[in-house]
């Protein structure tokens, strides 16, 4: 029998993924970083511009705010849903899982367009206003409200799945043990179930936060032109102004800002701190 060293096999199996990541992920990233300092000439001017012009700082602020809001809204909405999914023994859990799964697999674009219809002049809300005689419906499309709502809707399944993955592994016996030791339902939830579900909260929040920081389609289609998110700015620089260097600098700032927030979050709410040792 041919003897092959196990390491060689391991490397051979890892190679496709490694090459794929290097070519399509690491290389472009390095190029973006390179462009941000060199296009059109070697300098840090792009970064100085990002941090000195109020417009760009404001955009960064808007982006952070959207990411925080969407993450918080998703958490508040998803937690009870995932809880019911994980705790209900019967059909209800499966039905909810199926519903979340379906929206999970429906394209972002389709779901974003559906909000265009719902909030549009001829959509159901407009019809409701007309039918009730409430007069002119408020402007919903092209506001930060619509953009935030849309992003929350898009990200909700991610949060539910992250929470569900952890919650479905919390054994009933923990909660039962809490009850048998004298904890009424809410106390058992607060002292036992919730802490045990925290890894899901953290995973879900990081996931949603990181994705929303770089969101483009939804704010572009639903959001207000006055308060754009940073990726819209990047797209504009590239598509309309062909300013590759400045666009790259904005992208690098977005990446760095996201990384910083995630690092801080991990430090504060890291699992190693929550669960000792």
């Amino acid at each position: 029998m041919l003897m092959v060293r196990p390491q060689i096999v391991a490397w051979a199996l890892l190679a496709p993924a490694t090459i794929y990541l290097v070519v399509l992920f690491v290389a472009p990233l390095v190029q973006v970083l390179f462009l941000s300092f060199t296009d059109p000439k070697l300098s840090a001017n792009h970064f100085i511009r990002v941090f000195s012009a109020p417009l760009y700082l404001r955009t960064l602020g808007v982006t952070f705010q959207a990411a925080f809001t969407v993450t918080a809204a998703c958490l508040v909405l998803a937690y009870p849903l995932a809880y019911v999914m994980a705790r209900s023994k019967g059909r209800l859990g499966i039905i909810l899982l199926a519903i979340v799964g379906i929206s999970f697999w429906t394209s972002f674009l389709v779901r974003t367009y559906s909000w265009l219809v719902i909030f549009g002049n001829r959509g159901p809300i407009a019809a409701l206003y007309e039918a009730m005689g409430w007069g002119e419906m408020p402007q919903l499309l092209f506001t930060s409200f619509a953009s935030t709502l849309g992003m929350t809707h898009l990200m909700l399944p991610y949060m539910v799945m992250a929470l569900y993955a952890v919650m479905s592994r919390i054994e009933d016996n923990y909660v039962r043990a809490a009850h048998s030791l004298g904890a009424p339902p809410f106390a058992a939830f607060r002292t036992v179930y919730f802490p045990l579900s925290l890894p899901g909260v953290i995973n879900g929040s990081l996931l949603v936060f990181a994705i929303v920081m770089g969101f483009y389609v939804t704010p572009q289609l639903l959001g207000s032109p006055q308060s754009r998110m940073i990726s819209q700015l990047v797209a504009e620089q590239v598509n309309e102004l062909l300013a590759w260097g400045f666009a790259s600098a904005l992208a690098v700032v977005l990446l760095a800002a996201t990384a910083i927030v995630i690092t801080i979050y991990n430090r504060v709410a890291g699992l190693d701190r929550l669960w000792g040792d």
Binding site: Y174, A177, S180, L181, G182, V192
Partner: protein, 355 residues
């Protein structure tokens, strides 16, 4: 015996068709150590969960010192429970786990400290108070679970196969430990196991479960020596069960011979019975040995022997019927396959089970 915990004809059906627990009656005295013993799926855990309040009986009641528990939620029952996998809270230290029931009961800090110290002392875990459960060995986790279940002085402590996850040596050590704790604090314990040795060594009384019903409740020796049903005879301990017919106070053991048990129940007269003879109740008769009056002797042909060091277990056949003999002897060599061995039964060592 005053009744302390009283389980009255409880029935539990999960699907409305089959009764997982099918009319169980059990009255338990204060301070008693009672074991629910039975095969997998016989309803032991379900019975325990109903006492703890995690399952609702389909019918029947559970009373503790005369007060009906069935409508009281688990957290108000003051019934402690130790789960098979301990269910220690992984995000709390040993100390926090053990103080949990006290904090829930709003004990003041000094009282909590005193009690936690005392109970950790009892289970010899004082040095591990600051550790998290996953930093402990299986036996230590088990002791934390015990401490946590005991620290609030529950009226009853329920234990569901608490030693199931431990290896043999540790299990025996923990059996002794649990008995010691039971003795020292005199708490009422309801203990579930499917290990009959564990049940024999630990219990004041054993309730043998089968298919949701209790087949027999008695002290361990009685359950072993005088099982009331064939199932109990087979499930508890090693056994020979022969067919027999009672005639004139003697039992005719099919294919073996007649013997007159001294305490045969007159009600069995004329009836077919199962004749229980434990393997160690059979005596190997050497060629020059005397046979006492009334003893039944017969010959078996050896199929196989297992040598345990301190004893041997001999598998043989008498008239095509399997017979097992356990003997304290070091002469395993002479019982080769195919050898013929005479064995004797003392009439006092025969128990008749009604069919």
């Amino acid at each position: 015996m005053t009744d302390y915990l009283e389980i009255k004809s409880i029935v539990k059906s999960f699907d409305g068709k089959i009764n997982a627990v099918d009319g169980v009656d059990l009255s338990i005295a204060k301070g008693e150590f009672i074991t629910l013993l039975g095969p997998s799926g016989s309803g032991k855990t379900t019975t325990l969960l109903m006492v703890a309040g995690f399952e609702h009986p389909t019918s029947g009641t559970i009373e503790l010192t005369g007060r009906d528990l069935t409508k009281i939620p688990p957290y108000k029952r003051n019934v402690g429970m130790v789960f098979q996998n301990y269910a220690l809270f992984p995000h709390m230290t040993v100390e926090k786990n053990v103080s949990f029931p006290l904090r829930m009961r709003k004990f003041n800090r000094s009282e909590i400290e005193t009690r936690v110290r005392r109970i950790l002392d009892l289970v010899a875990l004082t040095d591990h108070a600051a550790k998290y459960p996953r930093q402990l060995s299986g036996g230590q986790q088990q002791r934390v679970a015990l401490a946590r279940g005991l620290v609030f002085d529950p009226d009853v402590l329920l234990l569901d196969e608490p030693l199931g996850a431990l290896d043999k040596n540790l299990r025996e050590q923990m059996q002794v430990e649990i008995k010691r704790i039971h003795r020292e604090i005199g708490i009422t314990m309801v203990y579930v196991t499917h290990d009959q040795t564990e049940a024999m060594t630990m219990s004041d009384r054993i309730a043998v479960f089968n298919k949701g019903k209790i087949e027999q409740i008695d002290v361990p020796l009685k359950v072993y020596r005088e099982p009331t049903t064939r199932f109990v005879g087979e499930f508890v301990g090693d056994s020979n069960l022969f067919d027999g017919l009672v005639k004139g106070g003697a039992v005719d053991v099919t294919g073996i011979g007649a013997i007159r048990p001294p305490r045969a129940d007159p009600k069995l007269e004329g009836r077919a019975v199962d004749v229980l003879v434990r393997p160690e109740w059979l005596r190997i008769v050497a060629p020059n040995d005397r046979v006492a009056d009334g003893e039944l002797t017969f010959e078996i042909v050896v199929d196989d022997t297992i040598n345990y060091g301190d004893s041997i277990l001999l598998f043989g056949k008498a008239q095509q019927r399997s017979v097992r003999v356990r003997a304290i002897t070091s002469h395993a060599g002479i019982f080769a396959r195919g050898a013929k061995v005479r064995v004797a039964i003392d009439p006092a060592n025969v128990f008749l089970i009604a069919r």
